[in-house]
Amino acid sequence: MKLARLGCFHRTRLSFMPVLLRRVEREAWRFGRTTWEIDAAGVGRAVYTATGPERSYSLVCFAHDLPDHLRSDRVIATAWDATFALFDGIPDRDDLARLAANVPKQEAGRVTDRELTLSRANRSVRLFEEVVSALADGRQPDAGRIDEVGYLMRTTAVYGSGKFGAADRVMIRERPELRGPFQAEMLTVWLIRAFVLDLVEHLAAARGGESAVTMEPDLRRRFGIGNSTGLGMAPFLMNHPVLLNNWMLARETALQRVRSVETATPGEVHAFHTALAAAQRNAETWHSDHPLQQQKIADLRTDLAALDGRTADAGFLDAAGPWDKLWRWAETALGLEGQEAVVSLLLDTRPDLVDGLSDCMDADEDAAFAIDGAMELDELRSLLATEYGWANAIDPDDREHCARFWYVSEEKLEPRLGERFGEPGAALELPLATGRDIKALATALDDRSPQLGGTVADFLLAEPRFRHVIRRVQVSAQHPYAEIRDNLVAADMLPIDLLRCKLSFFGASHFDPRSDRWVRICMYQDAPFPHEILAPR
């Protein structure tokens, strides 16, 4: 659970987007565009409805005319190219009127518990105009240019779980289709993708009239939806330790199951090689301007080539325990990016062993909240030693070890990372410096007179400042993957490692950091569109 490895995670078949796509296919969901009221300038509204075995969900889309100087991906933006809400059912005229008055305002408006998500997206100025222009002229857009950018619009936030008045998770989690983590958000983004492609074709038709064409299906699928993620997402993994544990546990269990396989059938070996070829293509089309990421991509390409070479030898995977053998080789021969790519490949060989684990990735966070006050302090000391030994390396007197602090800015409540010794605000620090707090706890326990009461309850009554961190320690005792074992306020900590970990669980690809705390990604690239789900391939 080190940031360096978490920051190299790739999507796997347990990621939430492929989980959604498998469900809609398995359950034969039906999709329809029930409203399209967009003018020739691309302004107006649209509604897409998705119907599963028991319920319908509708993405309500508002397209705006956004001046270039207002286009910003930051939380502090106040206007966007398009805004969206996922409605729980099929909206009537009153619902649409209410949404039209609120959704375009995003955080400054309100949604209700009839809405599951609230989101917004901005155009990729680079590519959007190029594609509209090409289609209007009767030409298909250039595949190379598509691969370079990967998307026409990018979401800059997808809010769910009760934010801004939307339905609480507790209201929807009994529904099979929404029980898995972030399924409402994944459905939202998938439908946004459909809207975006419809929008460019619409604008092309408006501009080019008779000579305009629609996009060829193969090219159309190459477009994903981009996403721009900054620090708003970063605290999530620390704030939801049980959930993080369950995601990691599912992943690690899947890997363990595949590694335990005794022999690989020719079909499974073939599946591996197919997945490897796709991974190599993905690495070829993966671009970034960030020097760190460029190095990682170069390393990945080298590693995948080495992997290809090693497994091209027919005998290599013919052995007993082939996948375990491959994993052990990868651990010594490949870098972290390559190793994590191998995780994804191995999981792809045995869907029968892996896919069911997606049902284990949600969490009952309430159950883990209460502190066990009866725990003896000696047991607490012991837990610190076994679970938090990594924190011993943190030196409270070393400024490099506490150089940063996490906080919430007054400006649109945007989470930010500050320089403790370079700017004001550290007194309002969020409790995300777990390593440092563990050290302080250990010191306080050492200083505590043995004559005082020996339980956590007694200790916390005297020292309430340790309640937050003791709760974390007790959660860790029951959940082995709950804690990221790195100093989250160190001078050299990379927030993008946190972002990549979470986004890989979403199913994102083509991570493109723009700084140490901002990353662009692509979602649903090469995935089918809703109207293609039941179509013959």
């Binding site: 100025v125 209460a370 006050g373 007054e410 930010r416």
Partner: protein, 234 residues
């Protein structure tokens, strides 16, 4: 609350309604931040957030109770902080904070489970103890019985029974006793998760406390603190 185009409060600033439908998540988040702003350590602020959320989920005005509590103890929490003297619970002022005391009792669930009766001479906004009793009940797997200002209330895993209306809302301060329930509980009122309607005054009041936890923006923090550039025309 300040200009909403520069800073988004937790509610629309146009003041067009007296009430606001909020989600349980929003109650939890704002209550946690408000408690922190009033002086609670983060670990106790989290308990306050959960407590307000639990109360709202059981159709009690947790946010309003919490706001009343915060206004009373603001800046002077140590005076209401519980101390143990043998079996007695005391505080410097004589009145106990229900969040701090509730957390302490939840930590001591085992003691309650072994038959002890907890007597609290005077608790501010005593209904706020109920979610903590619920946590203890969950740990013990048994319902608890509380007497708040003379009214009996049962708290179990399935919900609450008894005179909830009498103790929620306006009861500002009362003695409380707490023990394992004996006998049969009355009909339990379960949580009915749905949007909760708060008064705008209450929501703004909590927000004012929460504002104390936000760091004022500066040119520097806006440019480098968070992520992408200020315009994104790519």
């Amino acid at each position: 609350m300040t200009d909403p185009t520069r800073q988004i409060p937790s509610a629309p600033a146009d003041g067009s309604t007296d009430h606001l439908a909020v989600s349980l998540s929003e109650i939890d988040a704002l209550s946690r931040k408000a408690a922190r702003g009033a002086g609670y350590e983060w670990g106790l602020a989290e308990e306050a957030g959960r407590a307000a959320r639990w109360l709202a989920a059981h159709n009690c005005d947790g946010p309003a109770m919490l706001l009343a509590l915060l206004r009373e103890i603001d800046g002077g929490l140590p005076r209401y902080y519980p101390a143990r003297e043998g079996a007695a619970w005391t505080s410097p002022s004589g009145a106990l904070c229900p969040v701090c005391t509730g957390a302490a009792l939840s930590d001591r669930a085992a003691e309650i489970g072994s038959g002890a009766t907890i007597r609290l001479p005077s608790v501010i906004r005593p209904a706020i103890l109920l979610p903590f009793a619920a946590m203890a009940s969950r740990r013990l797997g048994r319902p608890l019985q509380l007497e708040i200002g003379g009214t009996d209330i049962g708290v179990g895993v399935d919900g609450m029974s008894g005179g909830i209306d009498a103790v929620s809302g306006t009861l500002a301060q009362a003695p409380v006793t707490l023990r394992i329930a004996t006998g049969v509980a009355g009909a339990m009122v379960s949580a009915a998760p749905s949007a909760f309607v708060v008064s705008m005054d209450c929501w703004r009041g909590l927000d004012r406390f929460a504002q104390r936890t936000y760091v004022p923006a500066s040119e520097q923090s806006r440019a480098s603190g968070a992520g992408s550039g200020l315009t994104d025309n790519e």
